[in-house]
């Protein structure tokens, strides 16, 4: 990732101070997340629900 793109992403994330004072850490974080994204299995099946699926509390069974 080139430095201009990295700067754009860092500033979009609000990391102005970190970009100014800890630039190597921000660049390393971008590289780490990019690599992690590449390793994350991604499904194309719309039926695959996330866990935990969102659900409302279920009513208590009646006695």
């Amino acid at each position: 990732m080139d430095e201009n793109t990295a700067e754009t992403l860092a500033l979009a994330a609000g990391l102005h101070k970190a970009w100014a004072n800890h630039r190597d850490d921000v660049l390393a974080a971008l590289a780490t997340q990019q690599a992690q994204r590449g390793r994350l299995p991604r499904t194309r099946n719309p039926a695959d629900e996330p866990a935990p699926a969102w659900s409302l509390p279920k009513p208590e069974p009646k006695a």
Partner: protein, 447 residues
């Protein structure tokens, strides 16, 4: 010959307090003498709470014992609140963070009669460590103080292994109770997700965080969990191994992250020992550790960024460098990344659930390596993610680690048992059965 009270396990101390042979204040004073002796070498404590703990113990001296935790000193990881005390999270960000109330889990232990003599070292915010650029030094391994004790509940592991306290509380988001337990040769339990309340515990990642005890024996772990939850867990603990169906997860340490040969040998020896004493042991395959790890890191990154984004923007210089470097990637996780991780999490959960259709308990590695030298940053970084604990933060199943030997370098080796959700009693039965046979129960470092 008299035995110094600090050498007693929780159950042994509890029995002596129950029959009047030991007073809570005598036990606490012995533990504090042990702290004074070894703490300068271990840095396990952020603050020692001698006066409030002694006052509580002396009040308990005058009471009829409430139960097995009456008068038992329990160290508290310094991301867990104690009323009236500061919770620093081992960080410069929170040096004045005095808390008005006990965390729920601390309140439950207090009600059961426990006393709290120290807030214990952690990796900063349970993620950044070992670090040497913080207001407090990192804890060290009692088996060899040149080595890392594991983390993030570093002080909890080091203090219990060294005999400062019979038990401690830690937290576990990617293995942070079981890691120090593995490296310090003690017992570390991550209960089922949401079994132990997290209110009053500084969060790292809401859907992965667990609170668990570190102790010297499996029985002590069960006693702690009973007080932490109000449930009974010791009914099956002496049930032995006969009839247990154990699935040995070899792919974790043979294929996914090949273990140090001594660690691999100790796992094989554990499987053989279990099989020789009544358990049915068979190989079982689970998804790759690397799949569990990337789901954990994606979710941990996003969830922790939601907690730390303000400090990462406004005061990034107040973190240790290692903490900043571990938290910053979470600022770049996308919404789609999070939901894809949660969708894959469902598949990983289903795979582990399916395994429990075939077996009662899983046996697998905890750490793939003995503890690295604490000053060898590249080796700490290399070995830190080489572990099989994170898988069960992703799925939420209960897991326990305990000692399985010593390496040729004199450092603890470990195994991990995993049970179906909410089946902690079964988990304790399997672990206690192994512990009784393996020969390392209560082994202490030569400190």
């Amino acid at each position: 010959m008299s035995t110094a009270p600090w050498t007693l396990t929780l159950a042994e101390a509890s029995a002596r307090i129950a029959d009047g042979a030991l007073k809570p204040s005598t036990l606490l004073r012995s533990c504090l003498e042990r702290v004074a002796e070894v703490e300068p070498r271990l840095n396990a404590c952020i603050r020692i709470l001698e006066q409030p703990a002694l006052a509580a113990a002396e009040a308990l001296d005058r009471e009829t014992p409430r139960g097995p935790l009456h008068g038992i000193p329990v160290g508290i990881k310094d991301i867990i609140d104690i009323a009236g005390e500061i919770t620093t999270c081992h960080s410069a960000q929170l040096l004045d963070n005095r808390k008005a109330e006990d965390a729920i889990v601390v309140a439950r232990l207090r009600a059961a009669g426990a006393v709290f003599p120290a807030k214990l070292s952690t990796h900063e915010f349970a993620i950044g460590g070992p670090a040497f650029d913080l207001p407090f030094p990192p804890a060290r391994n009692p088996w060899n103080t040149g080595h890392h004790p594991g983390g993030s509940s570093s002080g909890s592991g080091a203090s219990v292994a060294a005999g400062m306290f019979p038990a401690a509380l830690g937290t576990d988001t990617g293995g942070s109770v079981r890691h120090p337990a593995s490296h310090c040769g003690i017992v570390g339990l991550k209960p089922t997700y949401d079994l132990v309340p997290r209110a009053g515990v500084f969060p790292l990642a809401f859907t992965l965080d667990h609170v668990g005890p570190l102790t010297r024996t499996v029985e002590d772990s069960a006693i702690m969990l009973e007080a932490m939850t109000g449930n009974a867990y010791r009914g099956e603990i002496a049930g032995g191994l006969s009839g247990l169906r154990i699935g040995y997860v070899r792919n974790f340490h043979e294929k996914d992250q090949p273990a140090h040969p001594e660690m691999a040998a100790s796992l094989d020896a554990a499987a053989a020992l279990l099989a020789a004493h009544g358990a049915t042991v068979r190989d079982i395959a689970l998804p790759s550790l690397n799949d569990f790890a990337v789901v954990n890191r994606t979710l941990l990154g996003a969830e922790s960024a939601s907690i730390h984004e303000f400090w990462l923007r406004e005061a990034p210089e107040k973190y240790a460098g290692v903490t900043r470097r571990r938290l910053l990637p979470g600022m770049f996780v996308t919404g789609a990344d999070v939901v894809q991780a949660q969708r894959h999490r469902a598949k990983l959960l289903a795979a582990v659930q399916a395994a429990f259709e075939e077996v009662d308990i899983l046996l697998c590695a905890s750490s793939m390596d003995p503890a690295a030298r604490i000053d060898d940053v590249p080796e700490v970084e290399r070995t830190y993610p080489r572990q099989a604990r994170t898988a069960f933060n992703v799925t939420g199943h209960p897991a326990i680690t305990l000692m399985s030997g010593l390496s040729s370098g004199g450092l603890p080796l470990s195994v991990q048992f995993v049970a179906p959700a909410w089946r902690e009693a079964l988990l304790f039965r399997a672990a206690a059965g192994y512990e009784a046979l393996a020969g390392f129960k209560g082994m202490r470092p030569p400190l």
